[in-house]
Symmetry: C2
Subunit: 432 residues, 2 copies
């Protein structure tokens, strides 16, 4: 049997044990940070030359400014070459992701108040966005859709994808996904050097306003370092799921538990139940699934290092634990999930009932699968259209408006010792 | 005469000169980063003891866990002790800031689609937020209002303020502003050590979910390093204004130009006009104002190092320059500002017409004065209610729903080599 941590909310030190379970090491070492800083600085200074050198060194193919570009025509060829079922599945996913994300579009607004000021908020899209797509075995076409479609819906005029091709090997389904989701240009580069190219621009790669998409620790460190030069989405950590169950098929719950664990040895799966017997049944079913799943070694390592089965004594205790965990994915596999929903404050995405495994949301339901990890759902949101737009405040006033509220502003300016600020108001107030 | 850079859009190298003007050095040195990393690590490990030691060392007063707390009662006493005019001005500002920000509140939504899935988005507020307020001479009560009021409107249940008190000196108007804007607890600590206390918590200072508010380079470096442990607002740089004018009083425009310059020697003021004569008049008026303004030395240093008067040959050229600059503040001091507005893509806040100097927005108009600096308006927004809320996706499906779209999801899961993902769907699809 897989050796899975068991916790009980009745334990006196339950809170401390839960904290310990969640404390996964995520610090990037100084070595990584210094290496990344060097790479960023070299690409910033030397452009294509440095980008191609690093690509040759890390990805093992003879990269040139010409050979690294992946044209829209190349993406279209990939789209045409994949199977009918591939195309139908990707097209359905794009259609559903678009339909969901279109509801996130916001409108400009303004209002005129009693003082005579008209105040508003304008929404504009970013001009150009860079999409980082991991390469090799962790290349996920679904991630291309989830990052590109919200940008298209937001009105971004140019989406540039970077995707490393280790050993020159290219993932055709990734290119097909890029084609159907609206990516305009691609470059076969990755790592910190690709982040640098997107942030600073090179002779060939255009500088973008924001970089989105997941990557390894070098990519994460590079995104953190270029933050400010351009925007970034978030620093994604290993994936997590919490399943809260009060019944249901143990085999289904065990599969849901393992679907997270199979991603990565650092992933975390937690099952919380009021039913101790159910927890035991799921533990057995996990073992049965592991016996046949291709990625059992990864899943077992994840489950033994980070997984947990937690026995609670009420659903309110389950909600309290969830709010501490702030999980990326939360399944409420409950008889009456709606009764518990109002008690959940922090989660990236919530899947309600027995017929919505997380994988439905990962691929096709419509909401984004790029979600806040590692407890950051306490303060951040799924990737969305709002990540590709920004707001601008708009302020209009008549002479009467500045006469109504200008004196208070001038008073505060003087109290802060900013006399030129006050002067700008006093000149208007004293104008004849 | 102040020696102000002059540019002309007809110059062949105008684009390069404009880029050079905007390239202000903002990198934090390695020394600062290492010192800050040490401070963060010490406060994380040793809590109050480290926090008080650093406060004693950097702020020069005998800090203890008891003496560093600023109670809500202490804030109330400050509120009652300031002048009537202070209270009236602050209260009017709070009322107007609240009225504007209430329009930023978002609603939950959901919809049921043809496949039988119900998809939605829930909005929840952050639980606890930390507000960093600079101390000493740069203590701005207006910043307290601008950071705290949106958090209150968002529904944040606890707002914790940190404000350094160098030499033990406390700014009463800052405490009064904290009282009226709804800050619950305060601590007389600052610098990287205060950021650490808010991010990790100490025996006395509660850990928060997000840290907002401006600070010096140590505070900025600390915020960047704790990003991920908690949220942060943005890395604020020196302030900027761009004024686009085709007429108006030179004295008004000169005062507006200087209102930014008086903040900080690193601030940047740029005036763009189609009227070369007006640019000369404003230059003269800048000199006249500098002769009498108390902060003339700072303003002159800013203007000579970073200021510019730019002659353009059409308003569309002005808009193109603005979009490259992506200024924090933009005044359109134009006969017909609405004609140019649609051409502006990137700016933090736009002030339309001749009667809205930036200072009106800094204090009292209602929109936030915490705005993206240093060209980050290309991808970021003013501080707002949305910074204190987050979204959660909600996904419901019936058995029919998973039957309709589950097969495509399972296909994509297999194509990504994630068989446990596929299994979660196939178990539901094959359920009798």
């Amino acid at each position: 049997m897989a050796n899975i941590t068991r916790l009980d909310s009745a334990d006196t030190d339950f809170a401390a044990k839960l904290e310990a379970l969640l404390a996964r090491e995520t610090d990037t070492g100084d070595d990584v940070q210094h290496l990344v800083a060097d790479i960023l600085s070299n690409v910033k200074k030397r452009g294509n030359a440095a980008l191609c050198e690093y690509t040759e060194r890390f990805d093992g193919w003879a990269c040139t400014p010409e050979s690294m570009e992946i044209s829209r025509e190349r993406m279209q060829a990939a789209w045409e070459a994949v199977s009918d079922l591939d195309r139908e599945s990707l097209a359905l996913a794009v259609e559903r992701i678009r339909a969901y994300h279109e509801r996130q579009l916001q409108q400009d607004w303004d209002f005129t108040d009693d003082a005579g000021l008209t105040l508003g908020q304008r929404i504009t899209s970013l001009d150009r966005v860079g999409l980082y797509v991991p390469g090799g075995k962790a290349a996920y076409p679904s991630s291309v859709l989830m990052n590109a479609v919200p940008a298209v819906v937001a009105g971004v005029s140019e989406i540039v994808m970077v995707v490393p091709t280790p050993g020159g090997e290219i993932n055709e389904l990734v290119l097909a996904a890029a084609y159907i989701s609206g990516v305009q240009r691609g470059f076969a580069v990755g790592g910190a050097q690709a982040v640098a190219a997107l942030a600073y621009g090179t002779e060939t790669v255009p500088a973008v306003d924001k970089i989105v998409g997941p990557g390894n620790k070098f990519v994460a460190a590079a995104k953190r370092q270029v933050f400010g030069t351009c925007g970034i989405d978030m620093i994604a950590g290993p994936s997590e799921i919490v399943v809260v169950a009060d019944g249901g098929h143990p085999a289904w719950l065990a599969a849901d538990f393992l679907s997270q664990a199979e991603h990565d040895e650092a992933a975390q799966s937690i099952l919380i139940s009021t039913d101790a017997h159910l927890l035991n049944q799921v533990a057995e079913s996990i073992e049965a699934h592991l016996a046949v799943l291709p990625r059992a070694a990864i899943a077992r390592a994840s489950v033994e290092a980070h997984g947990a089965l937690i026995h609670v004594h009420s659903l309110q205790e389950a909600a309290a634990a969830v709010n501490v965990i702030a999980p990326e994915h939360l399944e409420l596999a409950l008889e009456d999930p709606d009764a518990l929903l109002p008690s959940i404050r922090h989660a990236g995405a919530i899947f309600l009932g027995h017929f919505v495994p997380e994988a439905l949301g990962d691929y096709i339901a419509g909401p984004n699968h790029v979600l806040p990890t590692n407890r950051t759902a306490r303060f951040s949101s799924p990737l969305g259209v709002y990540d590709f737009q920004k707001r601008t405040s708009v302020i209009r006033s008549t002479r009467a408006g500045v006469e109504a509220i200008g004196p208070a502003a001038a008073h505060l300016a003087h109290r802060e010792g900013l006399q030129a600020h006050a002067l700008t108001l006093e000149l208007r107030l004293n104008d004849e």
